[in-house]
C-alpha cells in the first residue's frame, strides 16, 4: 500500500498551489471547497483555465488571486459586472477559446503532444491577425496556428497543448492512494487529470482501496497522478455532483450572484462565506445556521435511479487444458 495522500484542505492548497500557477479549476462539479481555500491563502497571479470557468473563476479574479484566463466561457453563478470591468481596464488578461478548444488542448497536454488540430474556428473572426494580437491577450502567436493538412490539403487550426500546473477537482470518491472514481458528466475533467502537473482532488467519500479495485472501470485517474486527496463533503457546493447533491440554485441566486456586481459586493460575500469561515466544514456549518438543515437536505439528489447493474469482473481459476 502506497503512502496515504489524504490531507486537510489547508495543507493540500499550501503544499501544491503556488503563486503564478496555471490552475485548472473545474467545470461541472467545481471544487469550490478547494477554490475558497486558495482564496483564503491569498495565492497570487494565477492563470485560470478550463473549457468554461464559472463562479469560482470570478471569485479568483475579484479576490486578486488571478490575473489571467484561457477559456471558452467566463460566467456561471456571479454577475459579470466586476469581471468585465477588470478585462476592460487590463487588470484581467484573457485569451478566448471555446469549450471544445480547451477540452482538446487539455487532451493534447495529457497526451504529451505539442498541439492538436481542429476544423472548428475556420470562418470565424477569431483567426483574424488583428484579434490574435488583441491588447487584452497574453499569448500572441502561441495562441494557435493554421496550416493545411499534408494528407488532404484542407485547412486546420492547430491548438497548442495545455498543461496546467495544478488541477483542482471534486469527485465522488477516492481511496487513500488517490485513485479517483467519478460518474455522471465529466466535462473536461477526464483529460485535466492527466494534463496537469499536480492534481488535488476533494471527494465526497474516502473508501477502502478494495472498493475502488472491485470496479476499476469506474476509476478516472490512477493514484500515482494525484498529489492530494481531501475528504470534503459538499465540496462542490453550490454546484452539484451526481449521486450526492444537486445544484443549489437558491444560494446561487440569492447569495452568490450579487458577489460579482462590484468589488464591494465581492468583499461582503468573501467576509461572510470565505474568509469568515475557517474551512469548508465551517462554510457548510454556516450554511446550516443561515438556511437550516432542511435547505441542505433539500439538495439531495433523491429523484432518479440507482444502477441495475449486475456488472461482474473475474477470471478463470488456474486449470488444466490439453
Amino acid at each position: 500500500m502506497a503512502m496515504s495522500k489524504l490531507m486537510s484542505v489547508h495543507d493540500a492548497v499550501e503544499r501544491f498551489v503556488g503563486d503564478g500557477d496555471v490552475i485548472y479549476a473545474g467545470y461541472t462539479s467545481v471544487a469550490y471547497g478547494l477554490c475558497y481555500e486558495i482564496i483564503r491563502q491569498r495565492k497570487r497571479r494565477l492563470d485560470i483555465v478550463g473549457a468554461s470557468v464559472g463562479g469560482q473563476a470570478t471569485l479568483f479574479f475579484l479576490a486578486g488571486c488571478a490575473d489571467r484566463t484561457r477559456t471558452g466561457y467566463i460566467g456561471g453563478a456571479l454577475r459579470p459586472g466586476a469581471v468585465t470591468r477588470a478585462m476592460a481596464e487590463g487588470r484581467l488578461r484573457y485569451e478566448d477559446y471555446s469549450n471544445q478548444a480547451i477540452a482538446l488542448m487539455l487532451m493534447a497536454g495529457a497526451l504529451g503532444i505539442p498541439f492538436i488540430p481542429t476544423r472548428s474556428f475556420l470562418g470565424t473572426d477569431y483567426l483574424r491577425p488583428e484579434y490574435q494580437d488583441h491588447p487584452g491577450g497574453f499569448l500572441g502567436q502561441q495562441k494557435w496556428a493554421q496550416m493545411d493538412s499534408p494528407f488532404d490539403g484542407q485547412p486546420v487550426v492547430l491548438l497548442p497543448a495545455l498543461r496546467p500546473d495544478v488541477a483542482v477537482l471534486h469527485a465522488q470518491r477516492a481511496d487513500e492512494e488517490g485513485n479517483i472514481q467519478m460518474w455522471g458528466h465529466l466535462g473536461d475533467a477526464r483529460w485535466a487529470f492527466w494534463a496537469a502537473r499536480k492534481v488535488i482532488v476533494s471527494v465526497e467519500e474516502v473508501v477502502p482501496a478494495s472498493v475502488i479495485r472491485s470496479d476499476p472501470s469506474r476509476t478516472v485517474v490512477p493514484g500515482f497522478r494525484v498529489s492530494a486527496v481531501v475528504h470534503l463533503p459538499f465540496g462542490a457546493h453550490p454546484t452539484s455532483i451526481a449521486g450526492y447533491y444537486d445544484y443549489d440554485y437558491g444560494f446561487s441566486a440569492s447569495v452568490m450572484r450579487n458577489a460579482g456586481r462590484s468589488q464591494e459586493d465581492y468583499e461582503a460575500f468573501a467576509a461572510e462565506w470565505i474568509d469568515g469561515v475557517a474551512d469548508h466544514a465551517a462554510y457548510i456549518e454556516h450554511y446550516r445556521e443561515v438556511f437550516g438543515q432542511d435547505a441542505l437536505d433539500g439538495l439531495a439528489a433523491s429523484s432518479g435511479t440507482t444502477p441495475q447493474d449486475g456488472v461482474r469482473y473475474g477470471y478463470a481459476p488456474i486449470r488444466r487444458f490439453q
Binding site: 468585465t84 476592460a88 471555446s98 482538446l104 476544423r119 475556420l122 470565424t124 452539484s240
Partner: protein, 272 residues
C-alpha cells in the same frame, strides 16, 4: 388537438414553442444551453420523441423523466444523468460526436445574428475595446462550424438582428455564397432562425454554395406582419413570396413549457 390554442402567452413563449416544432423527427441534436435546451426538452416530450437529445458536456440521447420533467439548468444539471443512454465527457460530445460528423441538428442562441446567419457570442462593438463584453462562446463556435444543420433561437430586436455581426464567433454563411467552402467548412443547412416574431430560412438550396445565403422570413407569429419584423431588423429583410402565419401555441404546449421552467430561469417575465 387536445385543449385548443392557448390565449395567454408571451412572444418569448411562442418563440420556444415554434423552435420546439422545428426539431426534426430523427437524427442527433446537439442542444446548446439556454433557450435551446428549454425548447429541446419541449420538443422531446411533444414533437420529436425519437430525436437523440445530446449536450456538450456529455449527455447522449437524454429522455426527460416521465414525471416532474424540467429543462436542464446549466450544462451539467443532474437531471441529465438518469434517462440518458450514455453520460461521458466533453471530448466525446464536442469531439467524437460533433467533430466526428454525427450531429445532424445543432441548436444555438447568441447575442447577434446577421444577414448571412453568422452569430456573435463574445462582445458588442470592437472586440479589442468592446462596448459590452459577453461571457464567451462556450460550445457555440464549434456547433456553428461543424453541425450539419443549425437552428438559432434569438429574440427579434434591432440590436440583435444586425447587418454584420460585430464579431463572427460562429459562422453561418460567413461572407456569402461559397464562404463556408472557402474557409474550409462543410456545407450546412437547411438552417433556420426562430425569433420572437417569426421563422426564417436561408436563400440557399445547397448549404451555402449558391443563392444569396441571406435570411428569408418565411413565417410570422399570429397577428404579426412582416413589416413589424422588419422594424426590428437592421437590414432590408428578404421575405418569402408567401409568408405563412404560424399556428398559435396550444394549451398543451404552453402548459408544458411553463412546467419545464419551474424556477423561471428561462422565461421569467421581462427576460426577453
Amino acid at each position: 388537438m387536445a385543449g385548443g390554442y392557448a390565449e395567454d402567452y408571451t412572444l418569448a413563449e411562442m418563440m420556444c414553442v415554434a423552435a420546439a416544432r422545428e426539431f426534426p423527427q430523427e437524427g442527433v441534436a446537439l442542444v446548446g444551453m439556454g433557450l435551446p435546451v428549454l425548447s429541446g426538452t419541449l420538443a422531446k416530450l411533444l414533437h420529436a420523441p425519437e430525436i437523440a437529445f445530446c449536450t456538450e458536456v456529455g449527455a447522449f440521447d437524454w429522455q426527460p423523466p416521465a414525471e416532474g420533467a424540467r429543462a436542464p439548468i446549466g450544462i451539467s444539471d443532474l437531471i441529465l444523468n438518469p434517462g440518458s443512454a450514455m453520460v461521458s465527457d466533453m471530448v466525446d460530445a464536442l469531439g467524437s460526436l460533433l467533430m466526428g460528423g454525427n450531429v445532424t441538428f445543432g441548436v444555438l442562441q447568441a447575442a447577434q445574428v446577421d444577414r448571412l446567419g453568422n452569430l456573435n457570442t463574445i462582445a458588442l462593438g470592437d472586440y479589442r475595446n468592446p462596448e459590452r463584453r459577453l461571457g464567451g462562446t462556450g460550445g457555440n463556435t464549434e456547433i456553428a462550424c461543424l453541425a450539419a444543420r443549425v437552428l438559432t433561437i434569438m429574440p427579434q430586436e434591432q440590436r440583435r438582428f444586425v447587418e454584420r455581426v460585430d464579431f463572427n464567433t460562429s459562422p453561418g454563411y460567413v461572407d456569402g455564397p461559397g464562404g463556408r467552402r472557402r474557409h474550409g467548412l462543410r456545407p450546412q443547412g437547411p438552417n433556420r432562425v426562430v425569433s420572437t416574431m417569426g421563422i426564417y430560412g436561408f436563400d440557399t438550396a445547397d448549404g451555402g454554395e449558391s443563392g444569396s445565403c441571406e435570411l428569408v422570413l418565411e413565417a410570422v407569429f399570429p397577428h404579426l406582419s412582416p413589416d413589424v419584423v422588419q422594424a426590428e431588423t437592421r437590414w432590408n429583410l428578404r421575405v418569402a413570396d408567401t409568408v405563412r402565419e404560424i399556428e398559435p401555441p396550444t394549451v398543451e404546449e404552453i402548459d408544458l413549457l411553463r412546467r419545464l421552467d419551474p424556477y423561471g430561469f428561462y422565461l421569467r417575465p421581462g427576460r426577453y
